[in-house]
Symmetry: none
Subunit: 431 residues, 2 copies
């Protein structure tokens, strides 16, 4: 046994019964079952394994309990070609995965000197004495091959049993990702027959999931060979199609399928990449050397937050105001007293004056404004919770649109943010 000597045990490729090898992810850890930790490891791995051409068929989360680990492995071995588990390899007594593995693989725990030396060095590098408890991380099941951990003390473990590849990684996200990227990609590619899976993505905004489906219905019926997924989010609906290029009847069929979807969805598609709506708006602004300011009321800073999540947004985003009070709308944005009195703060007229006012204030080419009732309070007999106005201005073109986003405060903020960005996107494209 040595670090990364998996080559010697892998004389033949792992055969898959299915055409695309199926993988099961097993997440071990009480913290996930208690809801204290969100299982981002699983989604990260699922995403990266999909790109590699593996299909994640199951994600199973189980407690740090010997019998549960053994039982999950037994089930997974029945249905998956590859099993990839994370968690339970830490030094504290609640991490009992390795004991369970000794039982499952019928082997004994041994001390791996090379690993112990490495762990001691890590502590020395930080001017610390290794706590005795960290010796546990150098104890490994005798029949395992070890995968070097570039960032931590617990090595990954690799087993082959009954033509299945069974892998255990530590649960610390940074360590898990480092092992995956440094060693596991190569290991999986070398030992599995992986097809070239590709994804088409079309991102839409401003339409309900059912409406998107209705618009695509005929195309989907004409091309039943493509499996299409609909993914609704507060910012819109993503459409995703996975396919194996070698298995297409003809190279043109995908093109004509996509061309039809584009015709169906028209300008509701804002991206055919992984880019989010604020990034797309930023890209359009940047390409045209336009600058942006925001006057937010019910969105409460969220448009600004989304815009500034994009690195380099300071190139086009000059600033924003969140004007929660009438006085600040008057003073900062020069919304007229008359407008506020006659139409109210939540009105088309106020949204218009806000967007014009903030454009002047920051001397930008473009601006977005929001005013509305996010709830639960603030409704009047004529203005219900959820009533919102979004405004957008780009040079001499201006638009204001009315929406009702319903009764959930956070959802209203998110939908309003997406709607404001979409107004902006369309104005820029119409220039």
């Amino acid at each position: 046994m040595a670090l990364i000597i998996y080559e010697k045990i892998m004389s033949t490729k792992v055969k898959s019964n299915s055409i695309i090898p199926k993988i099961e992810l097993i997440s071990i850890g009480n913290e996930i079952l208690h809801g204290w930790t969100v299982n981002t490891n699983a989604s990260w791995l699922a995403q990266h394994l999909s790109l590699l051409g593996l299909s994640v068929g199951w994600i199973t989360t189980i407690p740090d309990a010997e019998q549960e680990i053994i039982s999950a492995l037994q089930t997974a071995k029945q249905r998956a070609d590859v099993i990839l588990s994370t968690g339970g390899l830490g030094p504290t007594p609640d991490d009992i995965t390795k004991n369970a593995l000794c039982k499952f693989f019928n082997t004994e725990m041994i001390l791996h000197e090379q690993t112990l030396t490495k762990i001691k060095k890590i502590f020395e590098g930080r001017n610390l004495i290794m706590p005795e408890i960290n010796r546990n991380q150098a104890m490994v099941p005798g029949s395992a091959d070890l995968i070097d951990n570039p960032f931590g003390s617990a090595p990954g473990l690799l087993f082959k049993k009954d033509n299945k590849l069974i892998i255990f990684l530590p649960g610390v996200p940074m360590e898990m990702k480092a092992i995956y990227e440094t060693h596991l990609i190569t290991l999986l590619k070398d030992h599995l027959a992986l097809p070239g899976i590709r994804t088409v993505i079309m991102r839409t905004t401003g339409l309900a999931e059912s409406k998107v489906y209705e618009m695509l219905e005929n195309t989907l019926k004409t091309y039943p060979q493509f499996q299409v997924s609909f993914l609704p989010k507060s910012s819109g609906v993503d459409i995703r199609v996975n396919y194996v290029s070698e298995r297409l009847e003809s190279p043109n069929i995908l093109d004509s399928f996509c061309e039809n979807m584009r015709k169906d969805l028209k300008d509701y598609i804002y991206a055919e990449t992984e880019k989010e709506l604020p990034e797309i708006v930023g890209m359009l602004l940047r390409e045209r050397s336009l600058t942006l300011a925001l006057a937010e009321s019910f969105t409460g800073g969220l448009i600004s937050d989304w815009i500034t999540n994009t690195p380099g947004s300071s190139a086009y985003f000059l600033g924003s105001t969140v004007t929660y009070s009438n006085e600040s709308k008057l003073k900062l944005l020069h919304v007229s007293q008359k407008t506020l009195q006659k139409f109210g703060a939540v009105s088309q007229e106020t949204a218009l004056e806000m967007v014009q006012g903030v454009k002047k204030l920051f001397k930008t080419d473009c601006a977005i404004s929001s005013t509305g009732i996010a709830g639960p309070g603030g409704a009047t007999p004529t203005k219900p919770v959820g009533l919102c106005f979004l405004g957008a201005i780009c040079k001499d073109k201006v638009t204001v649109k009315q929406f009702n986003f319903g009764k959930n405060r956070r959802f209203t903020k998110e939908r309003g943010t997406a709607a404001g960005l979409e107004l902006m996107r369309r104005l820029i494209l119409d220039l």
Copy 2:
């Protein structure tokens, strides 16, 4: 069958073999297995079910595939007292959960008129015509009882089979949470023999997880009977202790344990409830009739977003500016040209003038300011990525503090937002 008539089928409490009823969560959805969506539903449910006294034993994620759904239900029925599933109830053809349920529960799909009427009304309320496909959401397995969905068109489904409670909720997080909070809590409490699990929560901010552990170490060793969990988030570290009150050796032991933890952690504890930091700051402002304004730079609107997530925040929050450009810092906040030239935009001096300027601008009692380098660009030889200054002012007291939050842009924004709110909290308490 009618909306929420679960009472009639629940003549007896569901018996649990274990003392604490065990629940299995089943997440249905290709989007999770592909890694497109992080399974936050499962962690949210796990957290809330734990608080209720249920123990989540397994979280199983499976594809939108009939046979997989049936097989997962079969496995779960063997080991769990309650099964709670989310996802696959949407209107599009990839949502096939209900068909699988008809097979599993040996029933037929029927049209539920009440639900259809409700869905039509939702669309009318938004001035839209219901797409024909939404009729699917009114089709339900005949033997199911329906649980009203306060925010969406797909009702929850409830079955009882072989003394097990089996529940299906839509996967849209907002709808799932609304059904849980409005109906499911009562339903579970009514029909399960739940032990009185109580939770002590202490929320801290401004300390690393290992530091929190170090401060608590002696207390934890003195009270080994309490199982303590540490939950690090961008806004701080939560400490949670679950216990069954009937099983405590004495009623005083918990009090003295908590008292010791409070002594260890001092004023780093900002809440002993589920309230988040922005809500706590809002509460302090409201109690003292103080008003708040914000001058954000690197946090890019996120402080404002967090503050305005609290309903009724307009009572104390008057507004904010996001000043990404130097010019806007000069013009809106009256930061002096000299300060910007001599010390730069990312400096203690600028943070100070920003917080003073925005307090004047909005005529508030309190204000928070942020300026920093969120990265990845923008660093200089003397000012690295992650260098940030947060300022807070409350009446005549003012403070500015320097931080370095590292190289991740989003993480820096979140940590900075928490740090700004924490400065504000301490200033108010020191009044």
